[in-house]
């Protein structure tokens, strides 16, 4: 087994009286595809927000490569190499596709406003580099043809891929994907699954995803965690999760596990 890249220890996030994430422990190995599943309102996105620094957990800590990132700002965490996409796509919609990716390159460039005003050599060099890199990322997600189109005018599936390209431009070591296949048709879902695998295999990026499509989850995940009411109720490889009684109950309600057993026996007969 390779080294752990993300370790969450007892992460707890409280909103008023509601404990959205309740003492979650999990660790993600480098270059893994790690899925977090659970019913609606289980705290998956809140947990993501704790990882990406949008929320600071009330309790517990998140370690990235052995270093605590608790209390760091989102942009600092992004610069460290944890980047994310959103459940409801959040592109810079009036900017063009390539500009979106160029914003993603922000922290790997160093030109200041003075460079920009004076058009220094650094400006020239970096702008050229930014264009080249951005176009390569667009090419990678298959959007090079719409580089100059406004991001908001792209079709839904393309917007999802553009968001991934923007995140990739930030040189992630860990990529958090929040429901990457939500609202996609089977063809687009297949393409997205391929893309996720490719990112891991070609660039060695660790991928943590929240996903509701169980076909996708079971197919690509190396490891799955299940959250319910903010607590982690199970963790394991896809086959373990499929037969875990608590997981089935979380999804189907109490008695669900017995029901599932019954159906399985019937199917066997």
């Amino acid at each position: 087994m390779s080294a752990e890249i993300i370790t969450a220890r007892n992460v707890t996030k409280v909103f008023g009286g509601l404990t959205a994430v309740d003492g979650v422990n999990l660790s993600v190995n480098e270059k893994a595809i790690y899925s977090i599943i659970g019913p609606n309102g289980a705290g998956k996105t809140t947990f993501f927000n704790c990882l990406s620094g949008y929320y600071t957990p009330e309790n517990g800590d998140v370690f990235y490569c052995g270093q605590s990132i608790r209390g760091k700002g989102t942009h600092e965490i992004a610069a460290l190499g944890i980047l994310r996409t959103y459940q409801n796509i959040r592109l810079f919609s009036s900017l063009t596709a390539i500009e979106n990716v160029m914003v993603g390159l922000h922290h790997s460039l160093h030109e200041t406003w003075i460079d920009a005003v004076l058009h220094t050599r650094r400006y020239q060099k970096e702008e050229k580099l930014a264009l080249i890199q951005a176009s390569r990322w667009l090419d990678f997600v298959g959007l090079i043809g719409c580089a100059d189109a406004a991001a908001g005018s792209l079709p839904y599936g393309a917007q999802r891929r553009l968001e991934i390209a923007r995140a990739l431009a930030g040189k992630p070591r860990v990529l958090l994907l929040d429901e990457p296949t939500a609202g996609m048709n089977p063809q687009e879902t297949l393409e997205m699954t391929t893309l996720i695998r490719q990112m891991r295999d070609d660039f060695g990026i660790t991928i943590i995803l929240i996903e509701h499509d169980m076909h996708v989850v079971m197919e690509i995940s190396d490891c799955i965690s299940v959250l319910d009411f903010g607590k982690k109720i199970a963790e394991g490889v896809p086959s373990e999760i499929q037969s875990n009684a608590r997981v089935i109950e979380a999804y189907l309600g109490p008695g669900g596990a017995a029901l599932a057993q019954k159906f399985k026996r019937k199917a066997r007969k």
Partner: protein, 520 residues
């Protein structure tokens, strides 16, 4: 058939209403006077000779006819004429009702001037062509209907095949020219365009101030200063998306820095124009930074309200009794000395015009370069979605502060020049209305781009000066303009466009994947 005839009538009604509105605000008298002046007639009263008033009515009819014919175009000229006639009749009907109403009020000696100050009896007589109300109203109807039909005919004629062909040839010619321009490589094309533009603007800037007299220099200078203000505010509102309402406070800081350092009265420092100019810019930028620090957690409406408060605080502080010894209080500061250049005074209106032109060029240059850069993209990303921008690694706090400081520096520059040019500055010059003016001009012009800002400054600061006859209705037109703008061109007169990038050819084919890939 019935419905198609209804549409021109609807158009006509709209034009009728517009005509009545324009008459009410005295626009017809103004245009009539301008026409008369253009034809070399002396206009001694507010009311131009009758034929020019009639000409204005005729123009409205013509316009409505053309609009109706265009909207509901038929295949044949006769159809166009019919549409024009119908719309003219409809517009005439509205005007007719209005004239009869006015005439009735007039004959019953009801004084409507309490409500509509421009409507003197003489003026109403003018609208009615000095005829009895009913006949005058009929004359209006006749003019509008005839002009409408003429408009339809004109449109039909333009649409007819021969003229059409000519138009297409011209269009093809312009298109091929632009195509040729496009085929030039991007950088060279831009350079050529820039050179032509700079040469033309340069020639205008060098020769115009010498020839068009001090009044025009003053007007153009004011427009120029507002262009600088507009560009600065555009950095803050248009690029980084922070709605700052008290922007004029930075202008005030620039102006008062210049005033306090260069006027004999409160302190007699007499530091000289140039150091004071630099100090004014720096102090304004510093104020932008300091104001920005507590604002960083605010967005949208809250930010607008707090900055509005900041603007008012600065104005009221300058006005307050407590600071009278320091800042001159409500009376302001007089006798601010002008700049000198190489030991000679540089303070005539022409010199100031040159100074302002150079400053505008500098501001536009800086703004343009900032737009297409890493900071520029960071600002745009903050405007579009601050949370996502931060998740992309943009330090939003830092870039918002940078935008505020740079925008404030622009305002400081404009303020310092303004105070020195007028040799006076006082607290009431820096009221909330001035902030709103700047905001309106960038919204009307088109948020976030330079041509829009220049056009907006001209439309909102230049036109009211040129059209002095308008002055009674400045605010009314201002409001009407904003409403019309937001309805018809919500992105401004010149909407911003995103740049189209030409992706440079890669030199080393494999570099990106090394770059993109992480050390693993």
């Amino acid at each position: 058939m019935k419905t198609t005839n209804l549409q021109p009538i609807q158009t006509g009604f709209i034009f009728g209403a517009v005509n009545v509105f324009l008459v009410l605000i005295g626009f017809n008298a103004m245009i009539g006077s301008l026409l008369a002046k253009a034809l070399g007639e002396q206009v001694l009263t507010a009311l131009p000779p009758l034929q020019f008033l009639a000409a204005f009515t005729g123009l409205m009819g013509l316009w409505s006819g053309i609009a109706a014919a265009r909207k509901h175009s038929r295949a044949r000229i006769a159809g166009d004429v019919l549409a024009g006639l119908l719309s003219g009749l409809a517009a005439g009907a509205v005007t007719f009702v209005f004239c009869v109403g006015i005439g009735w009020l007039l004959t019953n000696k009801i004084d409507i001037r309490n409500y509509l100050t421009v409507l003197s009896f003489d003026f109403i007589n003018g609208v009615l062509m000095r005829l009895p109300p009913l006949i005058g109203a009929l004359a209006n109807l006749g003019i509008l209907a005839a002009a409408g039909a003429a408009g339809g005919l004109l449109y039909g004629f333009i649409q007819s095949s021969k003229v059409q062909q000519m138009g297409q040839q011209i269009l093809a010619l312009t298109r091929s020219t632009t195509e040729k321009m496009k085929r030039l490589d991007h950088g060279r094309r831009r350079l050529a365009l820039q050179l032509v533009g700079v040469a033309m603007a340069g020639a205008a800037v060098i020769f115009l101030p010498l020839n068009w007299g001090s009044y025009w220099n003053y007007v153009a200078g004011t427009v120029g200063l507002y262009v600088i203000l507009g560009l600065g505010l555009n950095l803050i509102v248009g690029l980084s998306g922070q709605l700052v309402l008290g922007y004029i406070a930075f202008f005030a800081i620039g102006a008062y820095t210049m005033a306090l350092l260069n006027s004999p009265v409160p302190h007699n420092l007499m530091l000289g124009f140039w150091p004071a100019l630099v100090l004014g810019v720096l102090l304004a930028a510093l104020a932008g930074l300091l104001l920005g620090l507590p604002l960083m957690r605010l967005r949208g409406d809250y930010l607008a309200i707090v900055t509005l408060g900041f603007g008012e605080i600065i104005r009221i502080l300058l006005k307050s009794d407590a600071l009278t010894d320091f800042s001159g209080g409500p009376r302001g500061i007089q006798n601010i000395s002008g700049p000198t250049l190489f030991g000679r005074p540089f303070n005539s209106d022409i010199d100031f015009m040159y100074l302002i032109a150079i400053s505008v060029a500098l501001a536009a240059f800086v703004y343009n370069r900032l737009q297409l850069s890493r900071p520029g993209r960071a600002w745009l990303s903050i405007r579009e979605d601050e949370t996502a921008a931060r998740a992309c690694g943009v330090n939003t706090t830092r870039y918002k502060l940078l935008a505020l400081a740079l925008g404030a520096a622009f305002a400081g520059l404009a303020g310092a020049i303004y105070a020195s040019r007028n040799q006076f500055t006082g607290p009431e010059e820096h009221s909330l209305m001035a902030s709103i003016n700047v905001l309106s001009l960038i919204i009307v012009g088109g948020l976030g781009n330079i041509p829009g800002t220049i056009l907006g400054a001209f439309a909102l600061k230049g036109l009211p000066e040129i059209l002095r006859e308008f002055s009674n209705y400045r605010l009314l037109t201002f409001g009407a303009l904003l409403v019309v703008m937001m309805l018809s061109r919500p992105a401004g007169l010149i909407p911003s466009k995103r740049p189209q990038y030409k992706i440079p050819q890669e030199s080393e084919p494999d570099e990106s994947h090394v770059e993109g890939k992480n050390v693993s």
